[in-house]
Every structure is written in C-alpha cells, then in structure tokens.
Amino acid sequence: MKPGSVAVVGAAETELGALPHMSEGDLHIDAALRALDDAGLTLGDVDGVTSAVHSPVDIAHQLGIRPNWFDGTSVGGCSFLVHVAHAAEAIAAGHAQTVLVLHGESRRSAVGRAPRGHTADSIFGQFEAPFGVYGPPTLFTLPFLRYMHETGTTAEHLAAVPARQSEWAHGNPRASRNSRFTVQDVLDSRMIAYPFHKLECCVVTDGGGALVVTSAERARDLRQQPVYLLGSGQAADSPLVSQMPDLTRAEAFERSSRAAFREAGIDRDDIDHLMLYDAFAHVPIYGLEALGFVGRGEAGAFIAEGNTSPGGSLPTNTNGGGLCYTHTGMYGMFAIQESVRQLRKQAYAQVSDVEVSVVQGVGHFFTEAATLVLSTRAA
C-alpha cells in the first residue's frame, strides 16, 4: 500500500461501562451507525465489513449490508489494527471502496457473547490450563518477574504506569477510572496475581467502536479531516506464554513496529503521540523498550519520571488506556479511536501539535502484535 492512499474518515465509540441492555452484536451495530454518522455516510456507501470473534458476515447481516469484501481475522486485542491494514490493502487493490471496521464486546455484562475458550485436548488445554491459570491476570503477567529480575525494574515502576496514566483520564466522564491516583494507591490496592495489584490490571467493561476506512481520494469530499494510514505491521510469537523465547522482550512488537515505521518512512523522532496497548501495567514498559524509545530496562523510570504524562516528551495512552479508560477484552479499537481523536484535535486530554500518532497493539497476551502509523498528512 502506498502510504497515505487510504484514510479513516469516520470514528466513533458506543457508550462504555456496564451496558446490560446491549448484546455484543448490538454493540457492533450501534458503533457502526455512529461512525457512519460521523463520516456523513450511510449503510449504502459500505461494501466491506470486518469484525473479530464474531463473524463479519453475521454482523453485516445484522446491519443490513451485503458485503463484497470482509475480514474476520481474530488475533485478540490487535485484531482491529490488522483489520485497518487489511482494509487499506483491499481498498488500494480495488476490492472494496468503503470498509467498516467494527468492534463490540460485552465483557462485563456477557450479553450475546460469542463463544470463546479452549478444549482439554488443545495445546493450551494440555500444557497450561491444568495449572490453575485464570485468564489474562495469570497469563499476561507471568513474564514480568523475570523482566524485573533481569532489568532492575521495581514494583514502584510498575505501579507508576497506571498512576501516571490516571493523570490523562482524570475528570473524563467516559473513563472508568477517572480520578487521579498515586503509586501508593496502586501498591495499596488488592493483590490479584503477585506482583500485580488490582490497579495494575485493566478495567473490565462493555463497549464497541467503529472506523470508516476509504480511499484518500474519496476522503477529500467527506466532512471529517482525514486520518491517513502511513504504514502498518504485524507479527506473531508463541501462543503459549510458557513457550515465549524470551520472557523479557515483546519481540513481536519489535517486528511489527519496525515494519510499520519502514512502510511509513518515519523515524521515532517523528512520532508525536503514542498508544501502547495496556491490558496490564507492564505492557507499556515492554512496549517502550520494543519500539526503541528507551534502552534496556529504562522504561519503568522513563514512565515514573513523567515522560509519557501530560506535558511529557512522549504523550502516551492519552485516554488513560485500558488501565483507566475502558477495556472490553479486545482493547485495540479504543487505542485507534484515541489516536484518531488526537489527530483530529477532538480528544478529552488534547495534546498540542499531533501530526503523527502510532498505535501498538497486542493480542492474546504477547502472542500477536500489530502497529499502525496514522497522520493528518498524506505522506
């Protein structure tokens, strides 16, 4: 794909929080209609649909669209980053004109939820599930003691991640945790899976989001300032946390971000704003290191010192992230939404002069990774 040839022209989130009146399907539909309104388009303009876990064909039918192109790639929380990249390729190739990238998840209320899980004869079912693992709080977190051991990163560094991010979410009525809290508040919160306290684990919410993606040429005639896709990357590593080649590196982040920066033709210095998927507090630490913003073991102090906070040199997770804003299980859609808001100057905690924003996503703990480079300029 030629950088800047495709743009996000509509973006919207549903209500967030506890939404027992909305099924997962309905969250997709609600988000889609809101994003089309935002773009000034209608269902009749859409010929492509994507969704994760739920079949995009099911979702398209509920919407009333008979798509000519669809993508149901399900790679956990970064699925929506991958969908944007795939949609861009399809649009550039002429297979689709206008694609709805959709997400809806009833993680908290569990209404109309698509089946998830594993069987006892799967690799996970045989070699990890028997040991009392209980979802992401026990699996995503498992590498971090090794990282602390090898880098000297401390419990206070880990606690600084949500504490610093709470500065961005402070006062935002849409954020689940929207009051500023301190490192000590984090360390005083209930232990979930040592060394992780409750405030080092993401919030658990219902919600959805949608993006409208089309060609840059078509974007010029639409109502919103286009947010151009300059580059993307994806990579995958071990689907089992116990089989990660190195527990102290998000190696897939390294590969996906390098590919995206190369395609976009940017350096790290060009990045004004960053969204680093943060289901748990250690993920931004791994992410800053993997993307090369800091050296080995320096990320904890970098965050604790305020470099990623309001007024810092690298504004990061400016919606408060999954730790404070919202997290439905697959958070990537909401990270993209915040990048779009920052680029359009519509964010709650607006950063000045954002021209290039990077979204780094993960899926299934450290298994999959995807990166998007988004910008208000086409090249």
Binding site: T119, A120, D121, I123, G125, Q126, F127, E128, A129, P130, F131, G132, V133, Y134, P137, T138, T141, L142, P143, F144, L145, R146, H149, R190, M191, I192, A193, Y194, P195, F196, L240, V241, S242, Q243, L247
Partner: protein, 137 residues
C-alpha cells in the same frame, strides 16, 4: 462443585502423558538436529524433521518466572494464593507448572531456585509439578 482442568491427550502427546503415569518426565529430542523440544509435536520446530525420539528428562529445573495467584481458577478455591510458575528444564525447554512444598510467598521464591519434578494425580491423569531440590526428604 468446580473441578480442575484435566488434560486430554492427542495421539502425538499420548506418550508424554503415559510416561507421567509411570512417574517419568519425557521430552522430545530431534533425531536430525538434536534439539530438545517441549511441548510434544509431530515434527521438530527447529528443523522440521519428523524423526523424533522420546528421552527421559532429568527432572531438574530452575524457577524462571511466576505469579502468586490470589483469584483462583475453578477447582483451586481451597489453594489460593498459589504459585503458577514457568520452569526451565535442565535440558533447556521451559514448561508451566505449579510449585509444591514451598510457601506461596515472594521471600521463599527467588528466581532461578533449583527445582525437581514431582508427580500428582488428577482425575485419572498425572501432572508434573515441581518442588525445591531437597524438599522431598
């Protein structure tokens, strides 16, 4: 009454589970490139060879990383907090396990702690657990 997850073997993993029933920890070694591999696979993930030997692991390992879980999985209600660990076998591969005969406290669990395998029955299957070296006596 919630029950703990119990693995179901597939044809390729059956020898591993059968060996555990005999209180032997077996891993695969590639007959072509000599790589020691875990979990059991149809072909060597290092070179693609289908010529795979089963070898008995020494059972010695070290504590590579862990969490102490306070929110128990179904069937583990009476055990929380409990340790979920990744251990590194002497032969190289790593595996997930639980720890036995050691307190679920950070002070008792320095990384790289030497461990040895122990075997535990569950619902007709045998699972490999690990304990500090010397704690069996």
């Amino acid at each position: 009454m919630p029950v703990k997850d119990t693995p179901i073997p597939t044809p390729v993993t059956q020898p591993y589970w059968d060996a555990l029933d005999r209180h032997e920890l077996m891993i695969q070694r590639c007959a072509h490139c000599s790589a020691a591999n875990f979990y059991p696979r149809l072909a060597c993930p290092s070179c693609g060879s289908r010529r795979i030997d089963w070898v008995r692991a020494s059972g010695r390992a070290s504590l590579h990383s862990y969490v102490i879980n306070h929110v128990p999985a179904p069937g583990f209600e009476d055990e929380a907090p409990y340790v979920i660990a990744i251990v590194q076998l002497e032969e190289g591969p790593r595996m997930m396990t639980n720890l036995r005969k050691v307190a679920a406290e950070p002070e008792a669990l320095p990384l790289d702690l030497p461990l040895e395998v122990t075997f535990e029955a569950r619902n007709g299957r045998t699972l490999p657990m690990f304990q500090p070296v010397g704690s069996a006596a």
